[in-house]
């Protein structure tokens, strides 16, 4: 299987027009092969984009030759969310990526993908899910290389896709509480969509003013951006088939082009990393998880893998 | 190895210890030695819980007393003695607090958790070693404070009850003031 570059789901609450423009540009200009669409974080956001524009955007991307996968919510508690998820699980005609176990109840025996917010840590869990119809696994960002290796090998044996996030803020935690609303002294029910003010997440700094985490509604992400460019070759060699870039407000056409060039071997890692750093991304790059270190670490390429 | 902590909150203030004891160390140390050997003999499993930290030296610092206690909870090389405040031996961690608060921590009949991470006790150095010691002490069968009191017969038990009441009252006063 040739290595493929994918665009993960947009985790943030951008205005619908911005999302439409964004995906139009991806359709026309980005080399990604697969685009994941659909609200993952908050069910309250769906009326703005998903309910009105999702199918059109998907068709537009497909016309441009992209494969489109629809993603499920990550947290499912209230009745409305449960109903939406059930309907979502029953839809036909598109690949579905599951981010909450509840969807697995409905999808047994039908092909589906396992999202990067579901806990698949070992090859036996992978095999179990594959036995029920999972065809593709997006791995958790916190997995060290040793675990990715085991999952990559199993994935090859089972003939399923194995995908790893290589760019963008890493999802670190989910909650029932909306931390965006909380920062503005509101409740989740009365949030007034204040998360829309932070298109790459709201930065939390420590008391001594060091940027630490970012908040996106119920989700907490890293402050640092994953940049796994130096590990693409290594990942390919241990069975990773798909490489996921996550949407941010930086120049994503440039980001996906750089990763595509490096992935295809047309550009060296040094040049790619240098170009990525010219894009003005206002946060450090991190790669510690894969290297078996603290996730916020940046481990230079020459360093031995832990 | 850590340096002397500076805390305006812990130094000064009324002394809560009722016996006012600048005991000569040469009298005190044989008693401490007896105490720690007895506890060790009664609770051999306790040391397993300490893992690698059994070889560590801990400094227990009752800020309202003139001396400090020096502990190495190593079954092969047990050490527990009073040391002079002016000449501190090397240690991996230091636990500072008022005598009654430290007693509460050692006394498994009382819940010292809230105390442990409050300002009333200050941990410097290797936090993991201290947490480990705390968990090990909590697992001994006979509460250490009682074992010690029993060694001194009825007067010992009387003193422990007195101290426990004093510690409880101190906790209540703190609770009322917040």
């Amino acid at each position: 299987m040739a290595a493929e570059l994918t665009l993960g789901p947009n985790l943030f609450h951008w205005p619908a027009e911005q999302k439409i423009d964004f995906y139009n540009r991806i359709a026309d200009e980005s080399p990604v092969s697969t685009v994941y669409l659909g609200e993952v974080i908050c069910s309250k956001r769906t009326p703005f984009f998903d309910d009105k524009h999702l199918d059109q955007v998907a068709e537009r991307l497909e016309r441009a030759g992209k494969k489109v996968v629809y993603c499920s919510f990550s947290e499912v508690v209230i009745k409305r969310e449960r109903n939406i998820l059930m309907e979502w699980s029953k839809q036909e005609g598109r690949d579905l990526e599951v981010n909450n176990t509840a969807a697995l109840l409905h999808l047994k025996g039908r092909p589906h993908r396992i999202g990067a917010l579901l806990n698949v840590y070992n090859e036996e869990t992978m095999a179990y899910l594959a036995g029920q119809g999972a065809t593709h696994f997006s791995l958790l960002p916190e997995l060290p290389r040793s675990a990715v290796e085991g999952l990559g090998a199993k994935g090859a044996e089972l003939g399923v896709g194995v995908e790893v996030q290589v760019f963008g803020r890493a999802s670190l935690a989910l909650s029932a509480r909306c931390y965006h609303a909380r920062a503005h002294d509101r409740t989740k029910d009365n949030c007034q969509f204040v998360c829309g003010e932070d298109p790459d997440g709201m930065v939390l700094k420590t008391m001594d003013d060091k940027p630490f985490l970012t908040v996106n509604g119920i989700q907490t992400l890293s402050y640092g951006y994953l940049d796994m460019m130096a590990d693409l070759e290594d990942m390919k060699s241990i069975g990773v088939t798909h490489f996921r870039v996550m949407p941010h407000t930086c120049d994503m056409i440039a980001v996906t082009r750089i990763f595509d060039e490096v992935l295809a071997g047309r550009m060296g890692v040094d040049e790619g990393e240098a170009k990525l750093r010219e894009l003005g991304i206002d946060a450090p790059f991190v790669n510690g998880f894969y290297r078996g270190r603290a996730g916020h670490d940046w481990v230079p390429r020459a360093t031995e893998m832990a | 190895m850590t340096s002397e902590p500076k805390s305006s909150r812990l130094s000064g203030g009324p002394v809560g210890f009722p016996f006012a004891p600048p005991l000569p160390l040469f009298l005190l140390n044989p008693i401490l030695k007896r105490i720690v050997h007895r506890i060790a003999a009664q609770n051999p499993d306790m040391f397993d819980r300490l893992g690698p930290h059994r070889h560590a030296y801990f400094l227990i610092d009752p800020v309202d007393m003139p001396l400090m206690l020096y502990l190495r909870p190593d079954p092969e090389a047990l050490d527990f003695r009073a040391v002079n405040r002016r000449a501190l031996p090397p240690h991996v961690a230091r636990i500072s607090g008022k005598f009654l608060d430290l007693l509460t921590l050692m006394d498994t009949e009382q819940d010292g958790d809230a105390l442990f991470f409050s300002r009333d006790l200050i941990v410097t150095g290797d936090t993991e070693a201290v947490v480990c010691l705390r968990n090990a002490l909590d697992d001994v069968d006979e509460p250490i404070a009682e074992s010690v009191a029993d060694m001194f017969g009825a007067p010992g038990r009387g003193a422990l009850n007195f101290l426990r009441r004093a510690a409880e009252n101190a906790q209540k006063r703190k609770g009322a003031s917040t």
Binding site: E75, V76, V77, R82, L85, N100, T101, L105, L117, N119, Y121, N122, Y128, P141, E142, L143, P144, S146, A147, V148, G150, L172, A173, L174, S175, A176, R177, C178, R182, A183, H184, T187, D189, M202, L204, K205, T206, M207, D209, T220, G288, F289, G292, A294, G295, D297 | P5, S7, T108, E109, D111, D113, F117, S118, R119, T127, E128, D138, D141, G175
Partner: protein, 335 residues
């Protein structure tokens, strides 16, 4: 609606001494784990060796108390055997149930120890009837431990819908992140909550005092909170820390205040909702805590079942930050 059953009181034990205290204080069941990564409270100086577990199970069973073993972390690829070994050991020692989160662990128990009860850990984050039904259908889960994010009315609805027993937390640490879906500790320390059972490991904790009397609590390279000279300091758990953001002046508890769950006033409602078991959090807490909290809730549950007004001792002093909340149970405004 189901007729109310008398809920079991499920009590924490971080050490054999705490287990004996819980048994003596009237626990219906005790939950505890081994000294390794299979256990989501894999903290230094805590938990049970196989020998201690054997003795402790005997002690508990002699006292009519069940022992539930926490194997509630996620084995990373290459290390699954350790979790299987702990399952086999637990079965051999006569444990009454295993509390699990990972699909591979659940599947192993179902296949190799079909008589062992599987309780679905809160770490599995099954917060909807569909998610729970999935685990019941696939692995024959007998009981689910609910995340601390549901209101009583949501719990009532859920009890009616799902084909297994329900266990809810009633007291103790009030974690806010969905358990089993948090890698904050790994981001800061390189030790994973899900894979290693670590949460703000003490080895990475430092307390630093400044000249002005303030104290900072540090985890790894990050200041988790800074306390003024008169403030009570806390342990640096990332989701209980104070941070700054552009929307606010000064530091604030971005996730949750250091507050403890105390659902004692809601016990009658929870019993009416059909909850099968009440869980007390605190395997990292002292034996004295276990003894007092278990005794207080034992009396409360017994009184309510006897139709009497429960006389709950004041449990506030045992809560970590000396503040308490009914958490999500009372209102979804909490979200």
């Amino acid at each position: 609606m189901n007729a109310p059953v008398k809920p079991e009181l499920i009590c924490p034990a971080g050490t054999p001494a705490a287990l004996r205290s819980a048994v003596d204080a009237g626990a219906d069941a005790v939950y505890c784990g081994y000294q390794n990564a299979t256990n989501a409270r894999n903290f230094v100086g805590l938990n049970f060796t196989p020998e201690e577990m054997e003795k402790s199970i005997r002690y508990a069973h002699d006292g009519g108390t069940k022992v539930l073993i926490t194997l509630n972390t996620f084995p990373p690829s290459g290390n699954v055997q350790l979790w299987k070994d702990m399952v086999d050991l637990s079965a051999r020692l006569g444990a009454d149930a295993c509390i699990v989160a990972d699909i591979a662990v659940a599947a192993y128990i179902q296949k190799h120890h079909p008589d062992m009860r599987i309780h679905l850990s809160v770490q599995a984050a099954a917060s909807s009837p569909e998610a729970i039904e999935y685990y019941v259908r696939e692995f024959g889960v007998k009981r689910v431990v609910l995340p601390r994010i549901m209101t009583v009315s949501e719990i009532r609805g859920l009890v009616e819908e799902i084909p297994c027993e329900v266990e809810t937390f009633i007291f103790g640490n009030h974690g806010l992140m969905v358990e089993g879906r948090c890698s904050l500790t790994n981001y800061v320390t390189g030790q994973s909550t899900n894979m290693d059972g670590a949460c703000s490991p003490a080895a990475c904790v430092k307390y630093e005092r400044a000249e002005d009397g303030s104290m900072s609590t540090i985890l790894g390279d990050y200041m988790i909170d800074r306390f003024g000279p008169e403030e009570t300091a806390g342990y640096p758990t990332i989701c209980k820390g104070r941070y700054k953001c552009d929307a606010r002046d000064g530091g604030y508890y971005a996730f949750e205040e250091p507050i403890s769950l105390n659902a004692s006033t809601m016990l009658p409602e929870l019993i009416n909702a059909g909850v099968h078991a009440f869980k007390i959090e605190g395997r990292q807490r002292s034996r004295a805590y276990v003894k007092k909290v278990v005794a207080a809730f034992r009396e409360a549950v017994d009184s309510i079942m006897a139709g009497e007004e429960p006389k709950l001792a004041d449990l506030v002093a045992l809560t970590e930050g000396q503040k308490q909340t009914e958490g999500a149970l009372k209102t979804k405004k909490w979200r």
